[in-house]
Structures are given as C-alpha cells and as structure tokens.
Symmetry: C2
Subunit: 215 residues, 2 copies
DNA sequence: TTCACGCTGTGACAAATTTCACAGCTAGAC
DNA sequence: GTCTAGCTGTGAAATTTGTCACAGCGTGAA
C-alpha cells in the first residue's frame, strides 16, 4: 500500500516538472527536484521508486519521460472529473478558479439547495438543485466530490454522493465525515490550518525573541 | 518538540468541544471525543497529555475546563489576528467567510496590487494597496498571513511579510515557499488535494469492483 | 466505610516514514 | 579503451508517529 504523503509529494513533483518543462529544462537531478519541492534528495528518489521510473546516474531524470510516467501512474491524462456541492462564497471561488481551466480539474456540475442559485450557470458551470443530485451524477463519470456546504449539511451530502458511486472527496466543511473504508476523504479545514499556523508562528516568534535576548 | 499532527488534532478537539458544549454536554470520555474526531481513544489521551489537562477516571473530561486548558495552551483567547494578501476570488471568499466572524480568526487588513480593488472595503475589511503593506502591518500585531495571490507572486509577498515580522503563513498558492527556519508555512493546495482524493478514489473504486467480481 | 467497575495516564511496543550510506553504473575526458 | 566523478537505486538504520495494555485511581453503590 502506498502512503498518502507519498501521493501528495508525487502530485507536487508533477506540478513542478510541468513548470520546469515549460521553462525548457530537459533533464533534472534528484537534488534539483528536491530543492524545488523542499524535501531531501533521498526522499525524491524513494518516491520515484514507486512509479517505477528510472533515472540515469549521469544525466538524472528526463523531464518529459518522468512526467509521462507520472501521468500514467495517476491516469489523469484526460483530466479529473468532479462535481461541486454548495455554491456559497467558497464554492463560487472554486468554480471561478477551476472553470477557467488552467489545471486538469474539471467541474462537470454544481449543486445547491437554494432555488435562487439553481437553474443558471456560474463561471460557466451549470448549477442544479440538490434534489436532482443523484440522477445527474449517475449520468456523469465523476471521480471526486467537492464539499463546500455548511458543516451541518456535509454528512448528508457525502452520503448521497457515495450512494451515487463516488469514492473520493475533498471536504471543506469543518467536520469529520463518517464514510465506509472504500471511500477517501481529504479534509481541507481552513480554520484549523490557520490555527495551526498561528500556533507555530507564536512558538517560533517566542523562540526568536529569546535568542535575541541571549545575544 | 510537539508535532504538527498533534497540533492539528488538538485544534480539531477544540472545535468539537465547542460544539459539544453548545449542545449542553458537560463531561466527555476519551472514546467519545475519539469517535467525533475519527481517531482512537488512546490517541486522544496521548494528545491531551501535552496540554497537561487531566481527566477523571469516573467522569471523563470536563468539557468546559478542557476547553479552557486548550485555550490557554493555544493562547488564542482574544482571537487570531491575521492579514490577507490577494483579493481574488479565493481571497474574497475567505473574507466573506471570516469577516462574518463565527470563528476566532480576525482578518485585520487585506492587500492587493490592483488599484480597482484597493481603497475600499470588502465584507467589511479594508483593502490596502500592496505598496503600503509594510507600514500597515507594522501598526498591527499580526500572527498569521494568508497568501491568496497567484503562485508567481507568492514568494515576494511572504518575503515582505516576514520582513514585517510575521512568523506564520497559510499559503493557498500552488508553490512551495522558501522561508527561514523561524517561519512556519502551512500549504493548502486545493488542486493537489483534489488530485490526491482522485487517486485514492480510483484505487478504492477499482478495489471495490474487484471484490464484487470475486463474489 | 468498603467494594468494584471502568475510566485515565503512560511505559513499552509496533508501525510508518524518513534519512543514511554505499554499491553500481554511466557519460564524458583523455 | 580506460578512468573517474558524481549520480541513482536501495538495503539498513534512525526517527517519528500511533497503538497496546495495564497499573492506579475516583466515583457511585451498598
């Protein structure tokens, strides 16, 4: 079994390699990729082991080939089909970001309970009423659901999407969802992340002050 | 040294306890909190060790007291003062979410380079021109910076904020920032998270299909 | 008061993850 | 062709993180 952390880093490498390729880099060493990704060179080599791509001791990794291998590993060559549920301010922000299509994320449909928001398109994405979620999703081949509803609604939304056959979610609501073991949830809780950053900020800040005092 | 994961879980407990308290729960056992947070009871007890709060073998943890201890540990009783840089669609979404103030995050000021956006308020938060970042931040006591600018701008923005004395960041741009060891960065890369969820969705989905075939 | 149940707190253990360190290889120099 | 510098790939060690299991204790029952 391959770990979450490894997958996160691999997606990151993919992004970085795309940037490098557009800058005309044809070959790259593990330590260079490591610098870009802010990890150790050994970590890069370990990670690349799992996708089976081999570099060359003298020239490093061929950027194009490595990207190809990553694409194949992730099987995302045609983009990632998703649906978004909850067209609040965050939902709209995500629509506006992803519908302009600079990434390989495709939002195929959006849903909301509010009749004011449904029936029209936002950033070019059709917003359907929540009641038609099941039938609409059944017609599409969706890999991942984006949950941008209030915390109180999140559980019933994932339940419905799981019933429609979706196995992966990114949950922006500040609750922990209850899902069967065949379903993956990535929690993106902004508040929690800010609290975390604030905690370490404080601790680093205090440490810095102490050191300055001792000098 | 206390780990990032522990801090994440502690902030989560805090949120859950707040909910429980508003529901009138006065005492809670480690296994109950564990169920809410989707972790093991042992994990909860271990985590609570670090803040020094002790429960009672017969009645569990006192919700109010525990919350108090967590507050004290995080020293967030007055809220977390932040600034936001980059008033694009995501920046506006965060402003609209946090300025309504149901959390302890306080966005004290926003910044953008676009003259169209500066000089006015969005969701009740004043948007300043980027050129006045340094002086404005110096006047405030800010713990954490929220980076919602395009990837190409992110590095120069954090550099400026670090120079203004900020030690913690939540970075929404899809780049890895280069910061000194006295600065903490929490990366919230939505694209990367969706890719990760999509990968595991696919793998779980395939596994489920296989199992059904074998039956 | 005494007893017993079932929880907490924690040392010891197990698993996961990262880093080390080095054998083996390959392209370029000569 | 031969040599060499410096990389990759990978076992093994180290570190980090999570779990187990149980001694010890506090509360309510009798």
């Amino acid at each position: 079994m391959i770990s979450e952390k490894t997958i996160s880093r691999l997606t990151n490498y993919q992004t970085l390699l795309r940037q490098q390729q557009s800058m005309g880099t044809s070959h790259i060493f593990s330590h260079q990729l490591a610098d870009l990704a802010r990890v150790t060179p050994a970590q890069v080599r370990r990670d690349l082991m799992v996708i089976g791509y081999s570099g060359n001791p003298r020239t490093g990794y061929h950027v194009g080939d490595l990207q190809e291998s990553l694409m194949q590993f992730f099987a995302f060559s045609t983009g990632i089909p998703t649906v978004l549920v909850g067209v609040g301010s965050l939902g709209r922000a995500l629509l506006s970001y992803f519908m302009t299509g600079r990434s390989n994320i495709r939002i195929l449909a959006a849903f909301d309970t509010d009749p004011v928001k449904t029936g029209r398109s936002i950033s070019g994405c059709r917003v359907h009423p929540m009641t038609r979620l099941r039938e609409t999703v059944a017609d599409l081949t969706v890999t991942c659901g984006l949950i941008t509803v209030p915390g109180t609604e999140a559980q019933k939304v994932v339940d419905a999407l799981i019933a429609s056959g979706i196995h992966g979610f990114v949950n922006f609501a500040p609750v922990r969802l209850k899902v069967p073991p065949t379903v993956f949830v990535e929690n993106l809780d902004v508040t929690s992340s800010i609290e975390k950053a604030a905690f370490f900020a404080r601790s680093y800040s205090l440490k810095t002050q102490e050191e300055q005092t001792h000098e």
